[in-house]
């Protein structure tokens, strides 16, 4: 990683930067309000990027969809003929994701490159430059956020190419993290006033930390997996789970998918083999064709998700947990399930 290269940019300057990005024919994706929600969408005009909004509210769905779409063809067929598919990879700028999301992408990289490289994910990754917003605004952190408890950091730069953070009322701090980031900045900086600075987003960390209500460390669950696996407390915590897939689908790191053949409507014998989002919370996820289901009960399926995040992934891939503490699953859960609460309760009981 390159040494830090920070500059201060005004709000106006940032707008100019966005306009330049658009002018350079990058595909720009940024959080945009649609209905009551904030979601990553293609931006056509700079004013569609509402900075205040994206600083304060987290998108309902994570930016993983940019690299791992909810549905994506992996091959096409016409009768008996197969055709390879290349993912569309316009040069893309993904603007305004959070440090937890950026970190999530790094975790996903490990899955999609483990032995077999998934070109669909990787080519999109290669074509995308990530401009992250650190959670430095007063309202960036809410009561669901707990990145600190899973080894994250609201100001971290990992996974990002450029990192933005607030710097006073009308200015931002822009840090170049990678060469890719630098390339983007160099190609789009005409008319943008950049004032070199020695500050870093991380300088604000201690202040931001105070805004977190959820600070307990969840990572220790990994070492106590056998102890908690059959915990009654965990069953109680997840008893009300109804088995929808909101948690998995809104999660920046849940990556389960299904592969199905999707005939093209209105044709005979044409279609595509597609990769669709799936979720371990669905009852049919592990059900055998013969009817046997190794995870028959919903609490077992919930446990799978929690443990995969906090124990199995670290065991398999790295010491990091697969949960980045973005809080999306608990924000959206229709029955108020909460991985943080469940796990801290279990940990609490475990100790007692």
């Amino acid at each position: 990683m390159k040494s830090y290269n920070s500059s201060i940019v005004t709000k106006q300057g940032l707008k100019q930067l966005i306009e330049n990005i658009l002018a350079h024919k990058y595909r720009l994706l940024a959080p945009k309000k649609s209905g009551e929600q904030l979601s990553f969408e293609t931006i056509l005009r700079a004013e569609e990027v509402v900075l205040n909004q994206l600083l304060r509210t987290m998108t309902t769905l994570s930016p993983k969809e940019v690299f791992f779409p909810r549905t994506e063809p992996v091959l096409r067929y016409t009768g008996q003929e197969m055709h390879d598919v290349e993912p569309p990879t316009p040069e893309t700028v993904l603007f305004g994701i959070r440090p937890c999301d950026a970190r999530g992408l790094e975790l996903l990289d490990k899955v999609f490159t483990w032995d077999y490289n998934d070109k669909f994910y990787l080519k999109r990754r290669e074509a995308t430059t990530i401009v992250t917003f650190a959670c430095s605004d007063q309202a960036s952190v809410d009561e669901h956020c707990f990145c600190l408890g899973v080894g994250g950091d609201p100001t971290a730069s990992s996974g990002s190419d450029l990192l933005l953070s607030t710097n006073g009322d009308d200015a931002f701090l822009l840090e170049v993290i990678t060469e890719k980031g630098e390339r983007l900045l160099n190609s789009c900086k005409e008319g943008v006033e950049l004032q070199a600075s020695d500050k870093r987003a991380a300088d604000q960390l201690e202040a931001i930390k105070d805004r977190f209500v959820r600070k307990q460390d969840l990572t220790e669950v990994r070492h106590k997996m056998p102890e908690y696996f059959d915990s009654d407390q965990l069953v109680q915590e997840t008893y009300r789970c109804l088995g929808c897939g909101i948690c998995a689908m809104s999660c920046p790191t849940c990556h389960c998918f299904d592969i199905v053949d999707e005939p093209k409507a209105g044709t005979l014998g044409e279609g595509a083999r597609v990769k669709n989002w799936d979720a371990c919370s669905f009852a049919l996820f592990t059900k055998h064709a013969g009817g046997h289901n190794p995870r028959e009960l919903q609490c077992q399926r919930c446990r799978q998700r929690y443990f995969h995040k906090l124990a199995y992934y670290p065991q398999k891939f790295s010491e990091e947990s697969l949960c980045v503490g973005c809080g999306r699953c608990s924000r959206s859960c229709p029955v108020g399930l909460d991985i943080y609460q469940a796990v801290t309760h279990v940990l609490g009981k475990g100790r007692a």
């Binding site: 769905l61 549905t71 009300r240 109804l242 689908m249 199905v260 989002w277 028959e296 229709p334």
Partner: protein, 269 residues
Amino acid sequence: MNSIHEVREEARKLLEEKRVGMVIGYGKGKGKKNYPIFITDPQKVEELHFESDCFYNLAVYLRKPEVCSHGKLAIVVKGCDARSVRGLFSENQLKSEEVVMLELKCDAKGIGRDKCTTCRVKNPLTPEEKNPIDGEIAKILAMPMEERFRFFAEEFKRCIRCYACRQICPHCFCKTCIVEKSEPQWISSTPSPLGNWSWNFTRAFHLIGRCVECGECARACPVGIRLDILNRYLAKSVEEKYQFIAGMDEKAAPPLTTYKQNDNQDFIR
């Protein structure tokens, strides 16, 4: 029953006398949040709680195998839950002798998606008034056809197939949903605009005459699809056309499983 105190007392008795194996109700979480709780220990009935933001439709839990394994059940019901429970009776999913309803009058004001503002069964047993054409429905009806189509197509396009609408609905009790049937695959499981349209359309159709307008599907939907408008409109139509309100009378046949010789056929040539 009038108050949560009476419910607690009744729940305690039911559990102590082993007349039920579990009581499903609301508990108080941290802050102002309430969530469903499941009580098997008579000592713990004090955890039962009820206030204006207890908006879940608890009837959905009556079909969970973990819950059913407790034998007879007692359930705290508001108007919409009670309608659901009776609907489940009428569709042979539960036997009335297996469920004790602990009824409470509801004064929920509505949480998100104005799910409670159109409610007319705050009192579990009696609907208060005819189903009005509410503002949202009126807005749709005022649109020209193509605009309506676009409106719903855009709504459905957002669907990510998390199936929260289905999972949270007490009346989506099929063990394997039509979307999970592969021979033939009536509805594509791919979250594409076409598959999403068929899925949301079909789910609405399947709920005709059965939906109790609890609004949980719309509340649960993470991408904010206005499923509630759709279902409320259909419930209104069913009431107008067949004088049927789902979940009011457990003995009444759901409207699509019966007929009258002189049913309307203006639309048939």
